[in-house]
Each structure stands twice: as C-alpha cells, then as structure tokens.
C-alpha cells in the first residue's frame, strides 16, 4: 500500500513539468494551428541555459528560469517574424508548418550538439538530490519544486487568458479566428504574442527540466511524442485538458514503470496517444472533429 502511494506521489510530482511543457505547445496550436514539433528542442535550449548558468556561475535554475523564459520568448518573436508570419498566407499552411517545425527541431538539435556535445547533462542544485519524508513516503524536492513552479506559471497563464482583455482576445482567436477579426482583434498580433508566450514557456520548462531529468540534445525526440500524447488526450488547443492529461498520464506511467519496468513506462504515453485517437479523437476537452 505504501508503495502505491509512493508511486502516485512520484507520478504527480513529474506531472507538473510535463504540464508546463505541454501547455506552451497547446497554446501555440490553439491560436495558430501549428503543431510545433520543435517545442521540446526549445525546452532543451532552456535546459542548457540553466545548466551553464549553474555550472559556470553557480546560479540556481529557479533564478535562471525567468531569464530563460525571456530569452526563449524573444526567440519566439524572431521565429514568428522570420518564418511563420509569412507562411500564414500559404495555402499549404498546415503541411508547411509541420515541415518547418521539424526542420527547426533538427537545426536546434544540431546546434546544441555542436556547441555542447552529446554528453548527458543534469543541473544539480542541492534540492535536486534531496527529499521530504512523510512517514515512509518520500517526495523528491527537485520534482516537488518543479511541480509547484510549473503549476504557478500555468495558473498565471490561465488567469491572464481568462481575465485580461488581451487574454480574451487570444481565447477568442483560438475559438473563432474570423469572428475575432471581425470584432477588431488584431489576429496577427495575437498570433505573435501567443507564439512568444508558448516558446517562453518552453524556456521556463527547460530550466526545470534541467534538474529533473538528465538531458542531451537528441532527447527532445522522446519528449515530442510524450507532449503530443498530452495535447491529444487533453484535446488539441485546450490548456486545461493538457494539464489534466499530464497528471493522468504521468501517474499511469509511474505505475506502469513499477509493475512492468522502467522501459515500459514511456510506452504509456504512446499507447495513450493511439487509444485516444481511436476512442475519443477530440480528447478530454477538444471539439469533435468535423466530418464535413
């Protein structure tokens, strides 16, 4: 029984970081209909920023987090202006953006590999290897902190989307782009800001990831599959859905890991992806796909 509780705690503790990674991906998809395959490679950039800040300057990843967020958000603005804005008028927008983001992921991976080699890295602030104990159940401090920070950032995002005028414009654009434009929303600016926020969140998640997982440039391929399963289970474009999916799947993955071994744990996400697409393609909170 204690084991079962322990696994639940470990699963929940990881859910937060996945949720943060997934919510940036979901936001960008919702507003711009871009399946950003480069999202986790940009998470990786955030992780390297946090890693080097810690290694060279002894800076705690929690302090680097806002810096990584801003650097990646600025990168997002550049990418949007240079690449995606132009594609918005293309008739083959969906196909093009998939190819473009795929290419971007390759470029980022290659650049990181060239700069920092393919060595496994992990940032190791004191709390990353420490834990709290409640009875016999232990909670790794690093995972707990990363979960709390993730949920705080996601909550701030949710409040911004729900209560600010611009946040409402973002939601409106996600739900009905033409209607938003007819009401005077500058949908191009909404796209730019959403993209910047989404990529900024990738940077923030990277800082957390840097001490939760060991990483190397090519690891983003494993994450994109995990993140896609979260976004699909949550319902494409639904941030709340993505967050719930992150917790549900990381808990299931933790149990699978316990009963069947760690190798099978990651498989949980892929199986979930298939099952959701077969049984409930719209996910938890997505809209039913139109058959017309």
């Amino acid at each position: 029984m204690a084991d079962m509780v322990q696994i639940l705690v470990l699963g929940l503790a990881l859910g937060g970081v996945y949720a943060l990674m997934g919510s940036g991906l979901s936001l960008v998809f919702g507003v711009m209909r871009i399946v950003n395959l480069a999202h986790p490679s940009l998470v990786m950039v955030g992780a390297y920023i946090a890693y080097w800040a810690f290694r060279l300057g002894g800076v705690d990843p929690m302090i680097t987090l806002p810096v990584a967020l801003v650097i990646l958000a600025a990168t997002g603005v550049l990418l949007y202006k240079l690449v995606f804005e132009r594609e918005a008028r293309s008739a083959k927008y969906s196909e093009m953006t998939v190819l473009l983001t795929f290419a971007l992921a390759m470029v980022v991976e290659g650049a990181l590999g060239a700069a920092f080699t393919n060595t496994q890295r992990v940032t190791s602030p004191d709390y990353a290897t420490d834990a709290f104990f409640i009875g016999s159940v232990f909670i790794p401090k690093g995972q707990l902190y990363s979960g709390i920070v993730s949920l705080t950032i996601i909550s701030a995002l949710a409040l911004f989307l729900k209560y600010s005028a611009f946040g409402n414009a973002i939601r409106a654009t996600t739900q009905n782009r033409d209607a938003a434009e007819l009401l005077g929303v500058n949908v191009n600016l909404v796209g730019l800001v959403s993209f910047a926020i989404g990529i900024g969140l990738a940077g923030a998640a990277g800082a957390l990831v840097s001490f939760v997982f060991s990483f190397f440039p090519a690891k983003h391929w494993e994450w994109i599959a995990i993140l896609m399963s979260l976004v699909v289970l949550g319902g494409m474009g639904s941030i709340l859905g993505t967050v719930l999916a992150a917790f549900i799947l990381s808990v299931i993955a933790a149990y699978v890991g316990f009963f069947f071994g760690a190798t099978w744990s990651t498989l949980t996400f892929f199986v979930a992806l298939f099952v959701v697409l077969l049984v409930r393609p719209q996910g938890l909170f997505g809209e039913k796909p139109e058959l017309a």
């Binding site: 005028a165 409402n168 414009a169 939601r171 409106a172 739900q175 009905n176 033409d178 209607a179 938003a180 434009e181 007819l182 009401l183 005077g184 929303v185 500058n186 809209e287």
Partner: protein
C-alpha cells in the same frame, strides 16, 4: 434622401478566382430594414463580405456617408460604424455569454463604458442576462442568433449587416429574430440583411434588393417586390410558395 451606404457597380470574388459580383449596386437608407434576396449563388453573402472588407473590391466603389470605404480592413470598417454578423453566427463557443458580449466591445477604449453597455444589452435581452455565465456553445440556435445580434449593438453601430440570420431556425424563432431587428431600427440602427427565405425577408423588410448572377436586377419596397411578377418567375418558380 441621401444614402447612408452606397454600393456602386461592385466587382469582387474570392482570391484570384472568378468574379462572383459583376456590378452589384445597393443603396442603403438610414433607419430601414433592407433585404437582399436572390437565388443560390447570386452573390448575396459575397456582397456583404466585400462591403466589410473581407474580400477585395476589384471594381466599383463602396461609400459610407459619402466617403469611400473601399479597401479598408474589417476592423477599420467596424470602427466606421458597420457591424457584420456572418452566417456562422461568429460566436466563441467556449466563452461565456458575457465574455462574448465583452468581445463585442473589444475595440472600445473605455472599459467602464463597455461594462455599462453590456448591462444595458442584458436588460434589453433578459435571456442573455439569465445565461450570462453559460458557454455560448451551449445555447440554442435562436439564443445564439440573439447573442450575435445583441453583441453588435454594444458598439452602437450605424449599420448592422446580417447574413441569413434565420438559417436553421424554427419559424417561431425566426419571427423573434425579426423582432430583434425592429428593436435595432428603433435604436436608429440601419439593417442590411441577406435572406435565402425571400418571402420571409421581404415581408419584414422596408426595402428589397433582388440580386442574380452578381448583378442587381431591381429593387423596391419589400411588399411591392413580393408581388412583382418578375420575382415569381426568377425566384419562386412561378408561384408563391413559402
């Protein structure tokens, strides 16, 4: 009387495709309900989209209060005082009724004034007040149409253009929709609507415009057009069928 909105010999189409409108002209006079009718493919919806700037006007001109508004973007047209409710009703299904109303005033600077306007609208349409915290997507078709129309009133526009507001609604609800149009004209709003259901549209309209193959065939008071023999031939297949 001078026209509030004048569409003169407009040629327009989608993208680089063929012209759908081939010289359409419409004169919109203040305070009245105007109804554009015509068979499928006549260019009725296209005309509204061209006026609002969603489609480029290739030839001809659109003037509002004597000033050309050709080539303006939809948000600029909106600021001039012309609101458009497209066929799909243009709601945000996962935002609440009140949030939808608030989006109607997105272009307003004065947010306190916006909240006051929303309160006024809610007083006028009690159903929207009752459902204010409900997602727009959960409303019935008639309620959604009411919300779409009420939302345009937030900005106190001079002209509201409606693309087939009766589409998919039961006859009793359609009557309510036309009642809302009267509420709007009482407020001094001019209506330009497109109707597939010609009889229904003309019965409620002050002025009818008949469009076919992208051209204006003729126009006149709604009730006269209803009895015009040309209409019977062109559109109603020779007999008055609803």
């Amino acid at each position: 009387m001078s026209a509030l909105l004048q569409v003169s010999n407009v040629v327009a189409g989608y993208g680089d495709g063929p012209a759908i409108l081939n010289g359409a002209s419409v004169k919109v006079e203040p305070g009245k309900v105007h109804c554009i009718i015509g068979p499928n493919g006549a260019g009725k919806s296209t005309l509204l989209k061209a006026i609002v700037g969603m489609l480029r006007v290739r030839e001809g001109d659109v003037t509002f209060k004597g000033e050309s508004v050709k080539g303006l973007r939809p948000d600029q047209i909106l600021r001039k005082g012309i609101s458009f409710v497209p066929q799909e009703r243009a709601l945000f299904p996962k935002m609440t009724v009140r949030e939808n109303l608030r989006m109607g005033g997105y272009s307003m600077r004065d947010k306190a004034e916006l909240e006051r306007r929303i309160d006024e609208i809610e007083e006028r349409f009690p159903i929207l007040k009752e459902r204010r915290d409900q997602h727009a997507g959960t409303l019935s078709g008639g309620q959604q149409q009411t919300l779409s129309m009420a939302r345009t009133m937030i900005l106190k526009p001079e002209i509201v253009m409606l693309d087939e507001p009766s589409l998919g609604l039961a006859p009793k609800i359609v009557a309510e929709i036309f009642d809302i149009m009267r509420v709007m004209t009482d407020e001094g709003i001019t209506i330009l609507l497109v109707e597939q259901n010609a009889l229904m549209g003309l019965k409620h309209a002050d002025w009818g415009v008949v469009l076919d193959l992208g051209r204006t065939l003729f126009e006149g008071p709604g009730k006269e057009i209803l009895n015009d023999p040309r209409i019977q031939e062109l559109y109603l297949g020779g007999k008055k069928a609803a």
